[in-house]
Assembly symmetry: C2
Homo-oligomer: 112 residues x 2
Amino acid sequence: MNAPALPDDRLDMVFQALANRTRRALLRRLAKGAEKVTSLAEPFGMSLNAISKHLQVLEAAGLVKRTVTGRVHTCALEATPMATAEEWLSFYEEFWNQKLDSFAEFVEAEQE
Amino acid sequence: MNAPALPDDRLDMVFQALANRTRRALLRRLAKGAEKVTSLAEPFGMSLNAISKHLQVLEAAGLVKRTVTGRVHTCALEATPMATAEEWLSFYEEFWNQKLDSFAEFVEAEQE
DNA sequence: AGGTATGTCAACCATATGGTTGAATAATGT
DNA sequence: ACATTATTCAACCATATGGTTGACATACCT
């Protein structure tokens, strides 16, 4: 049920990989299905090389798996490391819930 | 209930802030209660200045709130931005659950 | 065999990161 | 008044990041 707890340096890499909107967009893209590098790169106003590098970052973080068939590299989402990241974050749920609750109360009180 | 959805560049900053084990450790520390900079810095094998910078990163990301009383800066955890990060991640839950389930099945089958 | 498509590698550039040391600012204690 | 404590600011350093361009290696098509 709970994720396989990455070591600290892997968690560094995962959060680092997520700390860029282009890479987050790539992951969202891959959530709809595996795709090859060129077609992944197409919608971004950026060189193919740049996207290639981003994909390498994602791959190093374990968030993307690559299958090479001939000259075409097919990238697929590998979400499991995110489970560890989310698990790390979930530790703080009580804190933000508390905050959000008191904000909700405030709004409610305001409406008298 | 759902978090106030940070803009992309704020989310960049939050994930970036989390992409460092020292900063994650600082947050864990602050989860136990607010503390001043010097005492926060003490257990890390690192200069006070380094910690001061890390705290600035956390503050810029909105993960730490600072209250200055005289010369002492008290830092407190501000977890709400993490809610947005977790929300972003939760989109992928179905993907990793699927993976973890099939792994569980594999283990089960293995034990015949 | 020759040309085209897919993708990486290598070098470069500007800026950011994570750390250091040393000096500066401001509040407290004696 | 003077020393001490708390903390930041400034400059520096090495390395990482996010992007570029140009060249290269393969695979596919005719």
